[in-house]
């Protein structure tokens, strides 16, 4: 049976962050995961705090206030300082990674305002260099460029909405597609943009149609293998700021993050095994000694000194709610906090209502160890990070990446024994 210093369960942003930090810290890391996680689905930005519930301009400040008001929020586990440290680390890793000089810009002090694919102004703290040019706090007009073969991005709709928010914007559609396909997704286009000939065609067509003062918005597909080159070349050719707008999955910027972190993990000797589900653990004296896993119908065991659980919560089946409304954390059967009692409402009838189930997750103490209903630590050597944590509705707050990144980073730091406990001293009980 294999043995590793640390087993990280999950390959989303939290899992990969923890794994890379641990591996570069010298630990022998094995990552087990059901699949490749959710980085391919998000915007590819690092959203720290967008709404609390009003729109946030200065995330670090707002974070501190949030933690004061709501000590059960998972940000309390890391504090503004913890987020800053994780963000700095992330930016350095990406810049030094296989896609360099592609890099992230921004920080936790100020949010940018970036347009979404329907044209809403969305606050975001740390973004790829390829997106920063879209900051709506700048006044310049925008030409939103779409492609007929890309059904996942509608330029005139985005432009229309921007217009209703006081931004001067218009949309136009190009009829260019990789291999002339009628239906191509963002990844197929991203590969096409890697080809200089395709870029030349796009630039050629656009130069005739772009206005003097307009910056150019593209769907987020400016290059898969070399986004820095694609983006800077387009800016040069078109002679104006060019920026990407995140749209429906597959998220090319998200895939870039994944590829970068996987590359860094490989470089530091970490191993990844996919198609594996953790089904339980052997334990002794408050420590997990082995994880029981399953690949298809086949059961295996793997030993470890430490376990970082970053299984993604409800969205990925890390936490499941069955038809009798019982919640279960599926890897280690950890208690799930924040689930209403039987017979109580779990969800409310309005889609944008506050839903009681929204913040359910695993409760942990100040050192990310899972706790029971009385706040007692369940395992010494298991840490929980990412979307499985109780206490937040990240899709509403626009805080998912920040939470995953900072808690994944903190989990690694704790295991490496490198940092003091941060954030509020109070243990995190049920939400």
């Amino acid at each position: 049976m294999s043995h590793h210093d640390v087993i990280v369960v999950g390959t989303g942003l939290a899992g990969l962050t923890a794994a890379v930090r641990l591996a570069e810290g010298g630990a022998r890391v094995l990552v087990l995961a059901k699949g490749v996680g959710a980085t391919h689905l998000g915007a590819g930005t690092v959203d720290v705090l967008g709404y609390a519930p009003e729109r946030v301009e200065r995330p670090a400040e707002a974070l501190a206030a949030l933690i004061d008001e709501r000590p059960e929020h998972p940000y309390a586990l890391v504090g503004a300082g913890g987020v800053t440290a994780a963000v700095d680390w992330f930016k350095a890793r990406i810049a030094a990674g296989p896609l360099g000089p592609y890099q992230y810009v921004g920080g936790v002090d100020e949010n940018l305002l970036l347009p979404t694919a329907v044209g809403v102004a969305r606050p975001s703290a740390v973004v790829p260099e390829t997106m920063a040019g879209g900051d709506l706090r700048a006044e310049a007009a925008i030409c939103v460029v779409g492609f007929r073969a890309l059904k996942d991005f509608h330029p005139t709709l985005a432009a229309d909405t921007l217009g209703r928010q006081g931004v001067s914007a218009r949309g136009l559609e190009l009829d260019l597609a990789p291999e002339g396909r009628a239906d191509a997704n963002a990844l197929a286009f991203a590969r096409a943009f890697d080809d200089p000939a395709f870029r030349a065609e796009v630039s050629g067509q656009l130069l005739r149609r772009l206005g003097v003062e307009e910056r150019a918005a593209f769907p987020a597909m400016l290059g898969h293998a070399d986004p820095h080159r694609v983006w800077s070349e387009l800016e040069e050719r078109l002679g104006r700021p060019v920026f990407e707008v995140p749209t429906l999955p597959p998220s090319v910027p998200g895939m870039r993050v994944h590829a970068s972190l996987r590359g860094e993990l490989r470089r530091n000797g970490g191993r990844v095994i996919l198609n594996t589900v953790v089904t339980g653990a052997e334990q002794s004296s408050g420590r997990v000694t082995e994880l029981r896993t399953r690949v298809g119908l086949r059961e295996e065991r793997r030993g470890a000194d430490w376990v970082v659980l970053a299984t993604g919560g409800i969205a990925s089946g890390g936490i499941e709610l069955d038809s009798r409304w019982r919640a279960r954390e599926t890897a280690l059967d950890l208690p799930v906090a924040g689930v209403p009692e039987a017979g109580e409402e779990r969800f409310r009838p309005g889609y944008f209502d506050d839903h009681p189930m929204g913040r359910a997750g695993v409760a942990v103490d100040a050192e990310l160890r899972p706790v029971d209903a009385r706040g007692e630590r369940l395992y010494e050597n298991v840490l929980v990070a990412g979307a499985s944590l109780a206490g937040a509705e990240p899709w509403r707050e626009k805080s998912g990446d920040g939470l995953s990144l900072s808690t994944g980073y903190r989990a690694a730091e704790l295991v490496l024994g490198a940092s003091e406990p941060a954030g509020s001293a109070a243990g995190v009980a049920e939400g």
Binding site: A43, A117, V118, R122, A149, K151, H154, D160, D322, R396
Partner: protein, 517 residues
């Protein structure tokens, strides 16, 4: 003549009457088939459900089942049906069932349990008896539109989004109605020599407009849950006296478990309760073990129009009210000419209901015109081959490289969407969506709704504010059908959709939506 109500009943009446040469106007306050017809489980009854308790209803089903297969074959999938005796049922009922089938001339065959399990491997292996009958599943929306289109090809005018706000009386006759165009707000008067009230669960409200009281329609609320894929490919019925949750219907890509039967006050207020959901899941588990682990897609409620004339006796259980239909002749009952109300009935007998009420109308008018609907096929049934589940998949093979797939779950291509937009000039995105079931597959619109909204906006059919409204409206409407069954895989999907709509697109902060939320 004026037909009030554009569900199965009204569309059937319009078709029948138009074929007989009447000049028909049909109105509905919303889109066609938006009421009960759009919310039923899709079962084309063989009649087996009624053979023991309601022989007349059974005989009607037997006859109409055969006729509909002949005239609207492409709206029907020949799934076949099984009546099974579950461990909770009395095996002796099976004998009464067989007798009843024979009496009603319903083709039935008792097959062995092993054979039943071979045909349907997901069935409860502890069933004791199984009977095969000619149940089928029927696409109500397609049926209604087929008849409506047929009627309009024969000169009828079909007016969705026109609600009746008053009925005109001249003396003791109904001579037409005042209607309001819900899209424009405009009001107009329709003169009609005869009016047929085919408003189903809302029929009493219409009758009241003619000054007629006490036409009792009991809205019998029934909830149904669509499961994400076809757990069975044959209609499964419990072989027992009609009860809740005793039917599992494979229809298109889903299987629907139904239904409950709860007397309601208002056909527009049909809340889905947790108790009902639990009951349906348990009922499903009885037929298909592991049901509760399967993915529930959507839950909704419809109101059966059960006729209970207050002038007749009160009946306790709505299920004891006869399921067959009745023409309420207001000349006899209330001394009012020129108005007939259709009460009760089920979708399986829509053609017969239409025939009966148009016959009654002819009688009152003193004319003799023969019904032709037994033999004439309305448009949309030219293939004559019956619906097959794989048809969309097969069709898509031909356009794999040429056409963008907008709704991937339901295999709806871009040209089909654009065609629907062109054909239904007055319709909004909601109607088009509903009619094509866009966003009603497993992803619950996570991908296709943004695409469809973008396309419609792009071709100028929606402006930005309308697009924003439509997007938010969709999210709310979808949520309504999902939150009572949000567990397991569907909850995972909902989370992903939250990430897409809120996290990625941030629709909550759309300029229009902010005013609404």
């Amino acid at each position: 003549m004026l037909v009030i109500g554009g569900g199965a009943t009204g569309a059937g009446v319009a078709w029948d009457a138009a074929l007989r040469g009447f000049d028909v106007i049909l109105i509905d306050r919303a889109d066609l088939a938006e009421g009960t017809s759009g919310r039923f489980h899709g079962l084309l009854h063989s009649g087996g459900r009624y053979v023991v308790k309601d022989a007349l209803a059974a005989e009607e089903c037997v006859a109409e089942n055969a006729i509909l297969r002949r005239v609207i074959p492409d709206c029907i999938e020949d799934t076949g049906g099984l009546f099974v005796t579950t461990p909770d049922d009395d095996p002796a009922y099976g004998d009464r069932f067989l007798e009843g089938c024979r009496a009603a001339e319903l083709p039935v065959e008792e097959i062995g349990v092993a054979e039943a399990l071979r045909r349907e491997p997901r069935l409860n292996s502890r069933i004791q008896r199984a009977f095969a009958v000619p149940d089928a599943s029927i696409d109500a929306w397609k049926t209604v539109w087929s008849f409506a289109r047929g009627a309009s090809e024969h000169g009828a005018r079909i007016l969705p989004y026109h609600s009746a706000i008053a009925l005109h009386r001249e003396g003791h006759a109904v001579t037409g109605a005042r209607v309001r165009n819900e899209l424009t707000g405009e009001e107009l008067d329709i003169e009609a020599g005869f009016t047929i009230n085919a408003a189903g669960a809302w029929a009493a409200q219409i009758a009241t407009m003619a000054g007629i009281e006490g036409v009792g329609v009991v809205p019998g609320k029934g909830i149904m849950i669509a499961m994400n894929h076809r757990l069975v490919n044959t209609v499964i019925n419990r072989c027992t006296m009609p009860a809740d949750g005793d039917i599992l219907v494979p229809i298109r890509t889903v299987s629907v478990i139904g239904t409950t039967d709860i007397r309601s006050a208002d056909p527009d207020e049909l809340p889905v309760t947790q108790a009902e959901v639990d009951q349906m899941l348990d009922d499903g588990e009885r037929l298909v073990p592991g049901f509760r682990e399967a993915r529930a897609l959507r839950v909704w409620a419809g109101a059966r129009p059960l006729f209970q004339d207050e002038k007749a006796e009160q009946v306790a259980d709505t299920r004891d009210i006869s399921r067959t239909h009745a023409v309420v002749d207001h000349r006899e009952r209330d001394g009012v000419d020129g108005l007939l109300t259709m009460s009760g009935g089920k979708l399986t007998t829509l053609r017969l209901m239409a025939e009966d009420i148009v016959d009654a109308m002819c009688k009152q008018l003193g004319t003799e015109r023969a019904c032709q609907t037994r033999d004439v096929r309305p448009p949309g049934n030219e293939d004559g081959e019956g619906y097959s589940l794989g048809s969309r998949l097969r069709r898509r093979e031909q356009t794999l490289q040429d056409e963008q797939l907008i709704c991937e779950c339901e295999l709806i291509g871009r040209s089909r969407l654009e065609q629907a937009m062109r054909r239904r000039g007055s319709a909004n995105l909601d109607d088009i969506r509903r009619s094509m079931r866009l966003g009603m597959g497993p992803c619950q619109g996570g991908f296709c709704i943004y695409r469809a909204t973008g396309i419609l906006h792009g071709v100028g059919r929606l402006d930005g504010a309308e697009a924003a409204d439509s997007l938010s409206g969709f999210l709310q409407e979808r949520w309504k059908g999902v939150w009572p069954i949000l567990y397991g895989d569907q909850l995972r999907q909902a989370r992903l959709d939250d990430w897409i709509f809120q996290g990625l697109l941030d629709v909550e902060h759309l300029p229009e939506a902010e005013e609404v939320a």
